[in-house]
Amino acid sequence: MKVSLFTTCLGELFYVDVLKDTTEVLERLGCEVDVPEGQICCGQPSYNSGYKKESIGPAKHMIETFENADYIVSPSGSCTSMFREYPKIFADEPEWAERAKRIAEKTYEFTSFIVNVLGVEDVGAEFHARVTLHTSCHMTRLLGERDSHYRLLSHVKGLELVKLPNNYDCCGFGGTFSVKMTPISEQMVDEKIRHIEETKAEVLVGADASCLMNIGGRMRRLGKPVKVMHIAQILNSHQEEEAAHHANESRKSTVL
């Protein structure tokens, strides 16, 4: 199966390790991965801020770049949902709307792709830790993907998954919301962190780098000891139990 990786701008800027893990997991599951050269950003930052005109160019560029892919897979629910929204954005340009629709139909979020397209729930990963999961908003509400990440994590050897209280509440990222409405955003992330601490988890996992950057950035500022990881990093882990607590040298030391 041929998969074109939609890396996301945040991924390329901050989370190269996540992209590597995503690539390796997909390859291990038998996918032939490529990285379309022309890709940039889906345009969500400007679109959600009301700058529609400024978002049209980037969106068209992405459509052209990915138009001939078989499957488009992205390690971000939010960026995937933007591809899925494209047909609505081009409501006034029927030809582009049609092209956008074809893109939307073949775009999948990473975990959703593994479970729903590849039909795999056990990727053979092993990770020994008490973990809680942040289910991001665009993943659950805009993509309607509510359980692929749970299914995948439930098959990871050694992983103890604890439910995050109020997991449905937004972490406070919201793109430019986090910098335009900083005081409110900070209250939101603080409550999220209180709930994470209630779980006594050692690791917070998520499938959206943006949320993790927000929660992780706040936890780091507050000196919280909880480690933050992208689900691709967990699914690409094969550590033995003894090694679990000495993994600082590995790729997993990325600050999320």
């Binding site: 901050f14 379309p36 009301g50 770049t65 509440d169 937004c170 406070g172 910098v179 409110i184 409550e191």
Partner: protein, 491 residues
């Protein structure tokens, strides 16, 4: 100014709200309770079948009714008048106030009792009548508490959600209450105080949950029974309705009352669902002799025929407030509008303009919890984005820096060359700011982020370079998909 709550600029209101720990705790615990009750009574109630089907039913009815609003309003008014009632169409807030004032004056009425109504809050009816020398009494327990305490609603369905029992007790002490702060005892005091007033009021004023066009009937939904009191003992009944709050017939009323009761308070039905049809009540002891219906536009028609029309589908259940993480942390007053929360952020700029309420659409992380919760499928978070589009296109005043940044983004995000260059430069440029793997104090646009959060350092490794190497190691020629669909060796 009608609709306006408080007089603080938005961000000052937010700061004030955030520092009010009690309020935040009260709102978030109320939210948790209401959310859970709603879920149990909707998606969680298997006797209903598929809740999504109910939402689609609500949406379908609301959309069709709005698309033919003039027809159904004509029908409603014809039927209300044919049964002896008086209908007044008020284009503006002032027209609505003036009409009610005129009626009250003509009846020489002094004592007015009111049941809870958002539209009368919106048009500042109490103030207008008090200026006439009338004694206007709110009879919903929460509204009564707020009135005694000279406070304003902070929620559409539970207006005093921001107050605790001690505050209620203090308020009631002004009326001579000397009991404890037990809700039961406080409510009993309100029952006793209000009952006398109900039985001797001259005019009863109600809002309108739904009007039925087919018969000219008014449906009121409450738990306390106060609307029944208000519509049973005064000689004159005045009902004020937002012009969009109607259904074609009783058949549709069923669906919408179901959606409202279940989504607002998680009940199968509220304790009272009361349908009032004007009639000759000469021989009726406990019912008004005179019916007035005031149908209010007050800016609503601005949304018709535009991308904002779905906002008028709203049935004021407040389910969106009950799941909104922003409302959770700032409460209702910070919005500065009688309509807070997601629906408030959508409606307020339509009804009150961008100058006053243009910041509200930005008070959302676009998490879409509101859209998911809405029983009539209003795409609330999408409407917030559409407001932002209006705002930056001239309805409001976005910051110049932001405009420039977005323009630059628009150009940069379609140039692979600039993007790749940027990805290579970022680690170099930002290196001086990086300490111990992250940035804790950033300049310019990074400043608000790093106010409370660290920013990760840009990855030193370039993903695309890694990927090429990775493919070569695996013995695969590094390929890429070109714009024309062909695959070729990556450069």
């Amino acid at each position: 100014m009608p609709m306006k709550v408080g007089n603080l600029p938005f961000f000052e209101g937010v700061d004030k709200a955030i520092s009010n720990t009690y309020m935040v705790n009260a709102v978030s615990s109320a939210q948790d309770g209401l959310r859970e009750k709603k879920l149990k009574a909707t998606v969680g109630d298997e006797t209903l079948g598929d809740w999504e089907e109910w939402r689609r039913a609500g949406e379908e009815i609301r959309q069709f009714t709005l698309n033919h609003l003039d027809y159904y309003l004509k029908q409603l008014s014809d039927n209300f008048a044919a049964r002896g009632g008086h209908v007044y169409f008020a284009q503006t807030v002032e027209e609505a106030q003036n009409y009610v004032r005129k009626i009250v004056r003509s009846k020489n009425a002094k004592n007015i009792v009111k049941s809870k109504s958002m539209v009368t809050e919106e048009i500042s009816l109490n103030e207008a009548l008090e200026a006439e020398g009338c004694d206007v009494l709110e009879t919903d327990l929460a509204e009564f508490i707020l009135q005694v305490d000279k406070d304003r609603p902070s929620h559409i369905v539970v207006p005093s959600v921001h107050k605790d029992r001690r505050k209620v007790r203090e308020a009631f002490q002004k009326l001579g209450y000397s009991g404890s702060d037990e809700p039961k005892e406080l409510a009993a005091f309100a029952r006793k105080t209000l009952r006398e007033k109900f039985l001797h009021a001259d005019v009863g004023i109600t809002g309108c949950n739904f009007a039925v066009a087919d018969t000219g009937s008014i449906c009121l939904v409450t738990n306390e029974g106060n609307a029944n009191m208000v519509t049973s003992y005064p000689e004159t009944q005045i009902t004020v309705m937002g012009m969009e709050r109607l259904v074609p017939s009783w058949k549709e009323l069923d669906v919408l009352v179901t959606l409202l009761c279940r989504s607002s308070v998680g009940q199968r039905l509220t304790t009272y669902v009361t349908d009032i049809t004007p009639a000759d009540q000469t021989d009726t002891v406990d019912g008004p002799k005179d019916f007035h219906l005031v149908i209010v536009d007050a800016g609503r028609s601005r949304a018709l025929g535009t991308e904002f029309q779905p906002a008028l589908q709203c049935i004021r259940c407040a389910a969106c407030l009950n799941v909104c993480p922003v409302y959770r942390h700032i409460g209702g007053h910070a919005y500065g509008s009688i309509y807070p929360g997601p629906i408030g952020a959508v409606l307020s700029p339509i009804l009150g303009g961008y100058k006053e309420y243009g910041k509200l659409p930005y008070a959302s992380s676009l998490c879409a919890a509101c859209t998911e919760a809405c029983p009539v499928r209003i795409p609330l978070h999408e409407l917030l984005i559409k407001h932002r589009q209006k705002y930056v296109a001239g309805a409001g005043h976005p910051q110049t820096g932001e405009k420039i940044a977005m323009k630059a983004f628009g150009i940069g995000a379609k140039s692979p060359f600039l993007f790749k260059a940027g990805m290579k430069m970022a680690p170099i440029f930002l290196k001086p700011l990086v300490h111990d793997g992250s940035i804790s104090k950033g300049p310019g646009p990074m400043k608000p982020w790093t106010h409370g959060r660290d920013l990760p350092a840009p990855s030193k490794e370039n993903f695309r370079e890694w990927f090429k190497k990775h493919q070569a190691e695996a013995g695969n020629p590094p390929t890429t998909v070109n714009a024309d669909g062909s695959r070729s060796e990556a450069k």
